[in-house]
């Protein structure tokens, strides 16, 4: 026993070093695996505050561009307004005393909340940005986030007043997408090489793709309303060993200067997920 204590005292520095290493590695791998932040509840508040002050400065320089984007988006939204509602069969009606109804009996499916980006990264292997809305303002994990020009990312972590969004430039991004022209569905990923491009996979070679085609969110994407622009095709990689194309897309959102975003909440997502889960249970 005495020898053990002597050993520990003699190599105390090394033991302490190993303990710190294990602590660091534990947080690192635990965090990446579950997307759970061991400490980011508090950390988000702190770094979000500093980030907010920093963006206040850079915000000023982008005012003109931001205004243009907002005006364009407003115009687009006004044309689209009806698309946010799902119209059920009007011959049968269930009376329900909740707010998601509007007076015409339309279900609201998507709810948009605007937010400002207070912190942003593009040069890391996994890029995220922070927005100034959190749980208090109704932001939860797994909500979609769009910018004035297209899809931006998905919320992965929230605190009371801030939320962290993994942008398209994140290795764990996977968004169901389809070609606007012909409707083939695949998934959008990022391979981590260049922040100027994202990758679209699983498009069958039967599809007729040309450079410049638009890629939009597919009807199966649960975080986003269908038909939102993700990017345009820049490059077609024809892999002879596969019957699928790998397409390089230029993202519609400019992640280098994104200032304002909208968080999209799919109000019917839980209902859909629950139904599918129950069905899976029966099938097993």
């Amino acid at each position: 026993m005495r020898n053990i204590f002597l050993f520990i005292r003699r190599y105390f520095n090394f033991v302490f070093f190993v303990v710190l290493q294990i602590a660091a590695l534990y947080i690192l791998f635990h965090y990446n695996k579950f997307h759970e932040a061991v400490f980011s509840g508090v950390a988000n508040e702190l770094t979000g505050n500093i980030g907010g002050k920093y963006t206040n400065v850079t915000y000023y320089f982008h005012l003109k561009k931001t205004n243009d984007d907002l005006a364009k988006e407003n115009e687009e939204l006004r044309n689209k307004l009806l698309a946010n509602f799902e119209r059920p069969d009007t011959t049968q009606k269930i009376v329900q005393d909740t707010i998601p109804y509007d007076t015409l009996g339309h279900y609201r499916k998507y709810l948009y909340r605007s937010a400002r980006v207070v912190n942003n990264s593009v040069s890391l292997p996994n890029n995220t940005f922070t927005i100034n809305r959190g749980e208090n303002e109704g932001i939860h994990k797994n909500m979609g986030v769009i910018s004035p020009t297209g899809v931006a990312g998905v919320v992965i972590n929230t605190s009371n007043n801030y939320a962290v969004v993994m942008s398209l430039l994140h290795r764990q991004t996977k968004i169901s997408a389809s070609l606007k022209k012909t409707g083939e569905t695949g998934k959008v990923l990022w391979d981590g090489t260049s922040p100027l491009y994202v990758t679209l996979k699983d498009i069958p070679k039967s599809a007729q793709v040309v450079k410049g085609d638009s890629v939009v969110t597919s009807p199966y994407a649960s975080h986003f309303p269908p038909g939102l622009l993700i990017g345009t095709v820049m490059d077609i990689v024809d892999d002879k060993t596969s019957s699928f194309y790998t397409l390089r897309l230029k993202p519609a959102t400019n992640f280098f200067n994104v200032q304002f975003v909208m968080v999209v909440e799919n109000l019917l997502k839980d209902e859909q997920a629950k139904l599918e889960e129950e069905t899976n249970k029966i099938n097993q």
């Binding site: 520095n13 710190l20 290493q21 950390a43 890391l124």
Partner: protein, 177 residues
């Protein structure tokens, strides 16, 4: 200015510069990430105990991790160089007792050549470990090798610029004074 105040200011400045200046630069290439923040660990005084050195480096790395949303990544690398630092200094210190006569590692206290080796070794160790941790999650061997070399190159350049811009005056201290 006391050592404590000076190092606290450096702590804040290094973190802010690393995150709000260097990480905001548009990436030149996927291999090139401008890192300079770990210079803080290299500049810590000789007189610090091994344990406090490790602890300060751990907290320093963790603070940067708060900003980059990668908890533990930089903290692990910083603790490693803080541990290795002691051995490297012992080997490279030119004459007996230099660590008592000067406050902290610098070109003046160690001499240009040993100081350059000191920076080179610790930068390499830092980047190899950091990129290795990234490589565990993705990437090929070429990615690992390329990123370590390119990032080390850019870091050494940034450190040289920092040393020239912020020349630290090192007073020779004797027991008599």
């Amino acid at each position: 200015m006391s050592d404590l105040v000076r190092n606290t200011i450096r702590f804040v400045l290094f973190i802010l510069v690393q995150y709000y200046v260097l990480f905001q630069i548009r990436p030149l290439h996927q291999f090139v990430v401008p890192y300079v923040y770990f210079l803080y660990v290299l500049w810590l005084p000789f007189s610090m105990g091994r344990m406090s050195l490790l602890l300060v480096s751990f907290v320093f790395g963790l603070t940067l991790d708060y900003f980059t949303q990668t908890p533990g990544l930089h903290a692990a690398a910083c603790t490693l160089i803080a541990y290795v630092r002691g051995f490297v200094v012992n080997i490279l210190i030119p004459q007996e007792g230099a660590e008592q006569n000067y406050k902290s590692p610098s070109p003046v206290s160690m001499g240009w050549a040993p100081y350059a080796v000191y920076v080179l070794v610790l930068t390499l160790v830092h980047h190899i470990y950091l990129v290795f941790l990234e490589w565990l999650q993705f990437g090929s061997f070429l990615f690992f090798l390329g990123k370590v070399l390119a990032t080390t190159g850019i870091s050494l350049m940034l450190i040289l610029i920092t040393e020239l811009l912020f020349f630290r005056k090192e007073k020779f201290r004797t027991n008599t004074a």
